[in-house]
Amino acid sequence: MTIYQFPQRALAGLLLLLLASLASAKATVEDYGYPITDRFVATIVGTPEGYEADLPKNIPFKKRWINIFPERKLPDVIWYGQEMIYAEALQKRPAPLIFLIAGTGASFNGAKNQNMARAFYKAGFHVISLSSPTFPNFVSSASATGVVGHAERDAEDLYRAMEMIWKRLDGDIEVTSFNLTGYSLGGFNSAYVAKLDDERKSFNFRRVLLINPPVSLYNSISLLDRMVENIPGGEDNFNLFFDKLVHGFGKVYKDQDAIGGDFLYQAYKAMDLKDEELAALIGVSFRLSSGSLVFTSDVMTDFGYVKPKGLVLDRYANLTRYNQVTERLGFTDYYHDFFYPYYKADYPDMSRDEFISAISLREIAEYLRNSPKITVMHNQNDIILEPGEIEFFNEVFGERATIYPFGGHCGNINYRDNVARMVATFTEGAN
């Protein structure tokens, strides 16, 4: 709803939405029991207690470190980022293997990846959990350039890491098939990794599932960036808004004996936030995670984005001021003033707009259309899609797209029906 506040796109948006809802009526899941219909509430709160899939609490989800670029010499200020961290949960018998790729700014160890790992481990899979290429540890340890957000290059980085992990495991475990999934940006990455694998054939993925991916990465980050504009009274009132949130959380924290799984839901109910404030909260958290990513890239490449070029920071340097700057910048600023200038020389024939709009699933639509192994789970009211973008999935994937009527952005990812669907995608038709 908030998206349509932008008058210039309101009319076009409404028309597209109308068309989209007509066209996708057949693919929409009926009698859907996920309880939160508001897109922003769903995105923040996720799946309330009692609606989650029944998953094992303890699985052997073990952290691993791998040195992908042993010759790399990191700047002292990010000295700890040399080795890529990931996690594995392995079966003791021959089993299919699945790689999980996290969403923007998220790690292999985030709540969403952990839950997916539980679901797939329970279903008998070897699980390898990877961070998003936008997670600072990935940037410093596994990105060839240190400047991420490029569809093909991120896929190359992920593929290299996956090959090295498999090389390490080969012989220790028996794998019956390779599979791949990811949520949000990780879903987007999965599509490009699948395409790369069809050329290189290291894994020959049996099934690939994209969960709530963006269509155009730039469109999605623009939407998320603009959500900060929803801060009541504008960005200048950020402090007031922030204090309100902290005190709201604080009140719930004080009233509870322990922070349970339902903490966010309780906090949301107690604070009575309006949609605009929820959008602002999403925008702020997106900005915080993009801030650490951008700073990591800046010190790795000595690009001179927020840190003066040539200035060497050591591991004990005071970074407060840099933190303040990155919090005031959006992800779109990164694309225009860092990402594009950094890669410009490699792509001399492309304009800035062409370069940025090429980071899209539309670029590989034909591949996706003709790849029966790739399926999609998405939500009609996902907040990271421009009005009408959801239609891309119905159009390209047809029967292979499952579009839920609501769930926001990944809010329903732990809902029992979604988890069942997610696992069934990989177990159906398997021996």
């Binding site: 961070s131 600072p136 990591t296 070029k309 200035l311 591991r315 004990y316």
Partner: protein, 250 residues
Amino acid sequence: MKSLILRSFALLALLFLGACSTTPTVEPQASYPEPVFAIDRIVPADAVDVTAVYDPLEGMNKRIYNFNYHFDQWVFLPVVRGWKAVVPQPARAGVHNFFENFRDVRTMANSILQASPAKFFQSTGRVLVNSTIGLFGVIDVATSMGMPKPDEDFGQTLGHWGVGTGPYLVLPLLGPSNVRDGVGLFPDLVLQNYIQDDLLAQPVRATAFLFDSIDTRENTSFRYYETGSAFEYQTVRWLYSTKRELDVEK
């Protein structure tokens, strides 16, 4: 008591070492070209940082933070891994409950000091039930019975009576703290040692601190530098400070 004094001494020595090696942080010099988004242009001079925490000893704190990481890597976490490999889960849960029972005693004492009868009766009830039916605290019967578990320490008691936090501190081995909470550790430790001296047989008493530490680390999921963010230090600083502020109000 002797072990406490030794430990305190080691702690002070480490603090002192950290302080000696403090060097001024590098500030941008005029000789560097201006970055695309220069701090002075983007952040107004009068901007208020809502996540700011009073941290005049940041240089020293960051060195201790770094030291803690290495201690974790070479000593603490390997010991925890060994502990988990050797001792089965039910036994570890028993050890955990046993030490938690002493923390309930700490809450009892601090509830008296905070003049909070509700918390005093809650924690006393827990200690009575767990020390008897729960076999000297090894089984947490109180939680199974749904008894609330307030958590009070001397740092919170000081805060309750209006004592400010003072500068933020990162303590060797223990991690985020501040001057108030750091000072508050001592009365709590004295009380715990006093009770344990009285109640525990010599071999248990001598090793209690060690197993308490291993158990605490096992149950603390935080790992230094694993967020990968260069801003982890200040994020942790803000989170700790906010949580303690809320704990005092709680």
